[in-house]
């Protein structure tokens, strides 16, 4: 989706919606509900199709673009489940998924100055951190660039050192690029995307290793749409690097006790980047670790709710995390491992303080259990 797109540009695509609910649930035969909004409130309105019809109603002047529309626009978790299950909308110009069309609705809310408090807070945090990418380390000697935010990169750096992979760091303060895209602050995004690309281009002969699935998804899947001179980079998620290191013996497990874990597929690592096996391969390579799957997993995974920034349904974000945690508890696992800092925080937020360490980041978990 172009950052200059307007609601007019998606009207015809939105009109293709058959109202059949495919956007709400996962693959046959389980057909499990995947859309967090729909899970909370099964109704056509609270589905990807509902957003499309709202856009059409706005275009048809059946409803004013007011604060409630903005709250609604920001209430989508952005979990990509609708995009994974409905192909009809993306088969028509501008060939965008439903999630991107909802982001466009958000960008229209931003343009009108109708930003819900939750989204405004996140945007201000991002703004205060700044968008600049900082390159550190011995770039000339590095064969890879760790593209990392501040939350989980410590463990990632240690792991890369363990496997003898010289890396420099391209550090982003927070997840600025992907966050402002997902929140719809599109008018301010262009220069930052260009600046990021300018930093990355000279490093293109190296591997880019990502810790944040959101950032990797943004660069891999959005840069081609946003940058006329973009050429693909060799992007790998840290879980893929680790899985490879276990395979070729550069990373060795140490048994620190038996533990049963479940793995939560982050939406952007899974449905966004289609990386399902690598994190599981990594967990399988760890001695004493038994993986038990939740009922909704891989492409049919259920969201953690972190992306909900609107308050149209009060408590939706927390309820979504709780719904997922119920599923985790049903597995009987002791730990919930995920590969996204946002997911980890979303789960920890709704857990009692004494329980929070049961949610672990993949890289931290692997770092602890390897030699």
């Amino acid at each position: 989706m172009k950052l200059t797109a307007k609601l007019d540009d998606v009207q015809a695509a939105a009109a293709r919606c058959l109202r059949d609910g495919r956007c709400t649930y996962g693959s046959w035969p389980e057909n499990r509900t995947l859309c967090p909004l729909y899970q909370h409130n099964p109704s056509f309105t609270f589905s990807g199709g509902g957003y499309l019809f709202l856009i059409l109603a706005l275009q048809d002047k059946k409803i004013d673009f007011g604060a409630s529309v903005a709250e609604f626009a920001f209430s989508c978790a952005g979990c990509l489940a609708c995009d994974a299950n409905c192909n009809l909308i993306r088969c028509y110009q501008p060939y965008a998924g439903i999630t991107d069309i909802i982001r466009l609705l958000r960008s229209e809310a931003v343009r009108r100055g109708l930003v819900p408090a939750g989204a405004r807070k996140v945007q201000e945090q991002v703004k205060s951190r700044g968008h600049a990418l900082e390159l550190t380390g011995k770039v000339a000697k590095a064969n890879s660039i760790l593209f990392a935010g501040p939350e989980t990169d410590g463990a990632a750096i240690k792991l890369l050192e363990k496997i003898g992979r010289p890396s420099a760091r391209l550090a982003e303060k927070g997840y600025s690029l992907s966050t402002i895209y997902e929140l719809g602050f599109w008018e301010e995004l262009g220069p930052f995307v260009e600046a990021a690309w300018a930093k990355m281009k000279p490093l293109k002969d190296k591997d880019f290793i990502f810790v944040s699935p959101h950032l990797q998804d943004f660069i891999v899947n959005r840069f081609p749409e946003l940058l006329p001179d973009y050429t693909p980079v060799n992007a790998r998620h840290i879980s893929q690097v680790l899985a490879g290191a276990f395979r070729d013996g550069r990373l060795k497990s140490k048994n620190t006790g038996n533990v049963k874990v479940s793995y939560h597929d982050p939406c952007y690592l899974g449905r966004g980047l289609k990386i399902y096996d690598a994190p599981r391969d990594v967990l399988a390579a760890l001695e004493g670790v038994e993986l038990v799957e939740m009922a909704r997993n891989r492409e049919d995974s259920f969201c953690c709710g972190a992306g909900v920034m609107g308050d149209y349904i009060p408590g939706l974000s927390e309820d979504t995390a709780r719904e997922r945690l119920k599923e985790f508890e049903a597995t009987g696992a002791e730990l919930l491992v995920t590969a996204c800092a946002r997911c980890r925080e979303a789960f920890r937020r709704v857990m009692p303080a004494r329980e929070r360490q049961r949610v672990r980041d993949l890289t931290e978990f692997v770092e602890e259990r390897t030699q």
Partner: protein, 493 residues
């Protein structure tokens, strides 16, 4: 005549409903109302925008009973809907009763061969529930997320209708006053739903194609069919529709197909497409004349599903090959289909062998504009020529021109459904198509003895509608059900 509900009355109804069934089941926020304001068949400016006063989401039969009782007391209009397309418009300022949360498969009876389902059960849900039971359900032409009952009540095309007219055996109905009754054998205490009617008249018929105007359906028993030891989807190609019909009739007369459908080449090439194929296969289709397939591409494919013991299936395959030749066609080996029409082969396998419904991404081409009729076999051949000729006058703008055709009730009647996909924004073209369809229905009825599958105007139905109107008045004296639709207006899509 009931006047349109006022805001004050709506507020009172909303309050009472929330007290009766719970606030979370009654939505009246502005976003819900506008997104339900044009749900008939997608948000289409061709259809009127009718903003409801509230949308109710019953979770139990009692919720439906309470909703209807309150609505009836206030003479407040109600339209019952499910997931996916509906055939009648909703009512401005009324209640939309969305039964999607009532989606349980209540019983799978593998002795008699029926499943009892709630109205919100989708084809995907039912096919999943039947896995491992040794039974299968009809394969519709609806999307998998569409509701089984929605299609059954509108008598849409379904597989296995080769042997009967409708999948419905028994219905549980709630009348506006709150009375609940069953139309079939489950009416008798402790009796299952194996028998559609008897010793009294067939009341389920009153609710089939009634689009919710005679009562709200809260439960249904539908036919399911055994999965036999061996099965095949046999594909035969023909260069004319007339030959295809003769082939289908011959096989049906000999009790071979469980189900058979004739597909025109635009349809069999585009219906099963993957998204990627929209950029590879579809452009060629859009540039073509649907009456003139490329050299070597059959004008029609006939898919014939049959099952039984392995020896029986093997024999049926041989018979299909022989009968196809008799009518100037030929059976296409699976390898040839996979090589020449890979998406088509994959689509048939997914739909008929795995009962997993294909997503119809070809609908992204434009707004579906379909024309449907039933006729006797000899007449349907002429109707196909006539319809193809009329559709061709719109040129390539409505490509793909997709049709399918299949026998109901052992071929006593044959359905032809032909559709184009005009640009939704081309209102002038779409108006022309709508006017043309009216003319075509008139001509097909007068000249070829056709019967429309959807209502096309009560004036054509004469005394039939008068009788129905009397029944409607008795069952729904305050005319709260599907009020803006009259009895059966606005039925054509």
């Amino acid at each position: 005549m009931i006047t349109k509900s006022s805001g004050v009355k709506a507020a009172a109804v909303c309050r009472e409903l929330r007290e009766a069934i719970g606030a979370v089941k009654v939505m009246d926020d502005e976003i819900t109302l506008v997104t339900y304001g044009r749900i008939r068949h997608g948000f289409d400016v061709m259809w009127p925008f009718r903003k409801p006063a509230m949308v109710v989401f019953p979770e139990t039969r009692e919720d439906v009973v309470e909703t209807l009782k309150i609505a009836n007391k206030h003479k407040f209009p109600v339209t019952s809907v499910g997931t996916a397309a509906i055939f009648l418009g909703t009512t401005e300022g009324g209640i939309i009763l969305d039964q999607r949360r009532r989606d349980k498969v209540l019983e799978v009876n593998t002795d008699s061969g029926y499943a009892v389902i709630e109205p919100g059960v989708s084809f995907d849900k039912l096919t999943a529930a039947l896995r491992g039971t040794g039974f299968k359900c009809s394969v519709g032409t609806m999307p998998g997320p569409g509701t089984v009952l929605g299609q059954a009540l509108s008598r849409g095309s379904q597989s296995f209708t080769t042997h009967y007219l409708n999948v419905i055996l028994d219905l549980e109905v709630v009348l506006p006053g709150g009375m609940v009754f069953s139309t079939g054998s489950s009416h008798f205490p402790g009796v299952g739903s194996h028998l559609r009617y008897g010793p009294y008249p067939d009341l389920a018929g009153l609710y089939t194609c009634a689009y919710g105007a005679m009562g709200v359906i809260t439960k249904a028993a539908i036919r399911i069919h055994p999965v036999n030891e061996a099965y095949r989807v046999n594909l035969a190609g023909f260069d004319s529709y007339a030959d295809s019909i003769d082939y289908v009739k011959d096989l049906t007369n000999h009790n071979i197909p469980e189900h058979t459908i004739i597909w025109n080449w635009h349809m069999y090439m585009t219906w099963p497409l993957e998204p990627k194929d929209m950029k590879t296969v579809m452009p060629g289709i859009l540039a073509s004349d649907f009456r003139e397939p490329p050299e070597g591409t059959p004008y029609n494919l006939v898919s014939t599903f049959f099952s039984g013991y392995p020896e029986q299936v093997e024999l049926y395959e041989k018979i299909c090959a022989r009968v196809a030749e008799k009518y100037h066609g030929r059976v296409l080996p699976a390898e040839e289909v996979d090589k020449r029409f890979p998406a088509t082969g994959a689509g048939f396998r997914q739909q008929y062998e795995d009962f997993h419904y294909r997503e119809s991404v070809h609908w992204s081409k434009g707004r579906f504009a379909g024309w449907y009729v039933f006729a006797e076999p000899k007449d349907i051949k002429e109707i196909e020529k006539y319809a193809a000729s009329e559709f061709s006058k719109f040129g390539k703008a409505i490509n793909p021109v997709n049709y399918y055709s299949h026998p109901f009730d052992y071929g006593r009647s044959v359905l032809l459904r032909i559709a184009g996909f005009p640009d939704p924004a081309d209102i002038e073209l779409r108006k022309k198509i709508a006017a043309k369809f009216e003319e075509m229905y008139d001509t097909a009825m007068k000249r070829y003895g056709a019967v429309p599958i959807r209502p096309t105007g009560s004036e054509k139905a004469g005394t039939y509608i008068q009788v129905l109107a009397s029944i409607k008045k008795a069952l729904d004296p305050n005319n709260i059900l599907n009020r803006d639709s009259g009895l059966f207006e606005e039925g054509d899509l």
